[in-house]
Structure formats: C-alpha cells, structure tokens
C-alpha cells in the first residue's frame, strides 16, 4: 500500500471515530453541546464573584470576563484532552476489534474533538462577552489559535504517555486526577505572569500550560503583551512527550489484550 493511499484510509478511519466520539461525548445527554459550556461558565462566574468580593481588578488591558475566559479555556482544554486521551484505549477497546483501527487513531480522534470543542467554546464565550460590552475585537487571532493548539498538544502528548502507561497498570488512571489538579493553580488562570514577583514567575514559567494561557491573552487583547511567554520551551516539552508517548505506545501495543 502506498503512503498516500495509506494516509487516505487512515484519515477516513479517524473521521469515522471522530463522528462516533462526538455522538458518545455529546449525544448521550439531553443538553448535548451545552455541557461543554457549563464548566467554563461556572468557573468564570465563581472567579467573577471572588474578584468582586476581594475588590480585585483584572491585569491592565483586559476586561474581567475576557481575562477569566482566556485563562480557563486553555486550561480546561489542556486538562480535558489529557483526561480523555488517557482513557482513549480503555473506553474504546471494542473498536480495536477491527484490525485497521489502531490505538493511535483513537488518541488522534479524541485530541481533534477536544481542540475543536474548546475552540468553539472560546469563540462563543468571547462572542458573548463582546455582545454584553457592545464590541468584539480579537487582536491577533493566529496567536490565539497558536496558544490553544499548544494547550491541546500538551494535553494530547501528556495523555498519550499516560494512556500507554495505563496499559500496564490501572494506577495511572487513578493518579491522573490528583496529578493534574495543581495545574489549575499554577497555570495563570486567574493571574497574569506580568504581575508576579520575579522569583515566583521564574518558577511558574517551568509549567508549559502557563505559556499557552499567556499567548492566548496576548492574542486576544490589544492592550496586553505576554512579555514572558515563550514558544521554544513548550514546544520542546510537547516534542519530548510525543517521543516518549509514541515509543511507549509501540511497546504497549504488544501488551494490549482484547477480551
């Protein structure tokens, strides 16, 4: 089979899985796609209330709703993708009964679905905020897209590593929750890198998710510049995780038992 033909077949398979994943992710509930908005909206409402109570204002150049939305969406994209890619194999074992479906196809389909979903959520949330304010301006859409892609890829590759490990031990699935929880507090969801004391900032910039959040904010607001966000470091992390994940997946493939 030639490479082109092989790619065409693989695309068709990922597409089929994607359609099916969309059905199982959103089709099972009465509210369907609305579910995707509930969690980010709840977080935004909570922090809006907290900021108001504490009398805090968003960092310079941003409005509060926009500031919170640009923080929570990339973070949730990262977290959800990690979680859903982690269980891509265990919740879809039945599909591996068809020889042409490979574990990596399941991972890819879930990754695409999450990125698409949160991109949609982001657009709707900012659109909603703009309706309230009366004007919509996204300073640099490409930078926003880059930041969201970064968050999605970080989730995908971390999820892939965990997913391959989960073939060996079920402990991974149980540890993933506690492992990911701290990211909520250190990814810049409700603060900005520019406002941090330098020592803390240096430390937090080792968290690649923080860079994704900063880039999304830089791209959204004309008045905000993410002075400390970097491209090289997060993409280096993505590359390392991808390499580790793909290697582990190859080894784990032989271990995978279908019953």
């Amino acid at each position: 089979m030639s490479l082109v033909r092989g790619l065409a077949v693989q695309t068709e398979i990922v597409h089929a899985i994607l359609l099916r994943e969309t059905r199982t992710r959103f089709g099972a509930h009465q509210l369907g796609y609305l579910w995707a908005f509930i969690e980010p909206l709840l977080w935004i409402a909570t922090f809006y209330g907290l900021f108001w109570l504490a009398g805090r204002t968003p960092p310079h150049g941003m409005d509060l709703v926009g500031f919170l939305a640009t923080g929570i969406v990339p973070f949730l994209l990262f977290r959800e993708t990690t979680h859903r890619v982690l269980v891509a194999i265990s919740s879809n074992k039945a599909l591996l009964f068809y020889p042409q479906v490979r574990p990596l196809d399941l991972v890819l389909a879930r990754s695409i679905l999450e990125m698409g979903t949160f991109l949609g959520v982001f657009v709707v949330l900012l659109g909603g905020a703009a309706l309230l304010r009366g004007q919509l301006r996204i300073d640099n859409p490409l930078l926003v897209l880059l930041g969201l892609t970064m968050a999605g890829l970080l989730g995908t590759t971390l999820g892939l590593v965990l997913c391959a490990l989960s073939v060996y031990t079920t402990v991974v699935e149980r540890l993933a929750g506690p492992l990911l929880r701290p990211f909520f507090w250190v990814s810049g969801v409700f603060f900005s890198a520019n406002d941090l004391p330098s020592q803390i900032r240096e430390l937090l910039l080792w968290n690649p998710v923080m860079h994704a959040v900063e880039l999304v904010r830089d791209g959204t607001f004309a008045g905000y510049t993410a002075r400390y966000a970097d491209l090289k470091f997060p993409f280096f992390v993505i590359l390392c995780l991808a390499f580790a994940g793909l290697t582990l997946e190859r080894v784990a493939r032989a271990k995978l038992e279908l019953t």
Partner: protein, 214 residues
C-alpha cells in the same frame, strides 16, 4: 490466503507463563472452508485474533492476501451506548462501504426489528452475534473469521447463515474456530486441532475427530 509463519504467543498468569501458541506455521488457502477445533481455553480465539491482526504475536508473522474480516464472535466490536444502526454505520465507514446499503442489509439479515435502533447494551449475546453476522455479510470479505458465532440463535437463523455462506462460496470462504465438532462439520471438509500450543492438520473431519476425542 492466510499464512502463519512460526507464530508464538504466551500469556503471563499467576502460575507462570502459559504458551498458547507454540511455533505454529500454517497455510490456509483461499476458497476452502477450514475448521480449527480446540477445547475451551486452548487458544482458539487468540489464534483468530492474531490471524485478523487485532492482536500481535510474540514472535512470527502473518501474511494475508485478500480481504479478511474482523473476528466475528459474541463479544467485542460494538460500542454499548450506541445503537445497532450507529455501530453498523461506523463499520461501513471504516471499511469504505456504502453506508446506506450496509445498514439496510444488516437490518434485514439480523432480524433484530426495533432493537436495531436501541443501544447495544440492551442486547442479549445472541442478538449481538446476529448483528455481527448480518453486518459482516453486508461487506464482501474473501475470508470470514468466525469464532463460534454460527452456533447462535435458533435453528432457522443458523440455517440462514449456512445458506448465506453457501451462496457466496465462489468468492468467500470461512475460517472457523469452535469447540463443537458438529458446528465445524456443517461448514468444513477439513479441520485442524489446536492442543497445547500446537496445530495439527487432518485431511478429513473424521481423522480430526479421532484426535480430538482421544
């Protein structure tokens, strides 16, 4: 055609390593139904999964020519929360078949009635097997890998399956594993016996039976 080249597969169990397939080589030519007999736990389903390519052997390789089905059995292959129809659509897509044609054929063949539009988790194992069977019949495979599944359902459905295979004898054959000699006899003229990791071939079912019963 399917060729097995020195296939070895073992599993770790609490009592040590269990070698299910021990250096098995074989050729299954196309156009001829073939049966593999084995007791429960002999490794028949494992062998079928390795032949289909969904599971990998520890050593050795499988050479496949022609279009080969997924292993048709009681379990696997269906998503419990989706309906029979949705599952059929998925399979039609990944095999590049016309979706409407496949769905129509599978509805008609599997005779599930209203259940066709209900989630698979509401199905009995017999109904799942009927769906798997109807669905696989909608796609033209050169070799059907069958795991006990034809022993399912009432006499009439069994007869229907047999006739369907007879009808497409010219272009498809069946590779069947079963613990039941009777099922194999209905479809195959020749059989092999899988026992303690080794596959022994016989020229007739009669000879296979002597070995199997012993």
């Amino acid at each position: 055609m399917i060729e097995l080249r020195r296939i070895t597969k073992s599993y770790k169990t609490e009592k040590g390593i269990n070698v299910v397939l021990d250096d098995v080589s074989a050729i299954f030519p196309k156009g001829e139904n073939f049966g593999i007999l084995g007791r429960n736990g002999a490794g028949k389903s494992t062998l079928l999964r390795i032949i289909s390519g969904v599971e990998m052997p520890d050593y050795g390789e499988v050479v496949r020519k022609g279009r080969i089905s997924w292993p048709l059995g009681f379990s696997g292959g269906f998503n419990g929360s989706l309906s029979g129809e949705e599952n059929c659509r998925f399979v039609a897509r990944i095999y590049g078949e016309d979706i409407d044609r496949v769905v129509e054929f599978a509805t008609e063949f599997s005779e599930l009635g209203q259940y066709f539009h209900m989630p698979i988790r509401t199905y009995s194992s017999g109904m799942k097997a009927r769906l798997a069977f109807g669905l696989s019949m909608a796609i033209d495979f050169n070799i059907y890998l069958v795991d006990e599944v034809t022993a399912v359902g009432d006499k009439r459905f069994q007869e229907k399956c047999r006739l369907a295979f007879e009808e497409r004898q010219a272009r498809s054959s069946v590779l069947m594993v079963s613990h039941n000699l009777k099922t194999i006899t209905q479809y195959c003229k020749r059989a092999a016996v899988l026992d303690q990791g080794k596959l022994t071939f016989y020229d007739s079912i009669k000879e296979a039976r002597l070995h199997y019963d012993a």
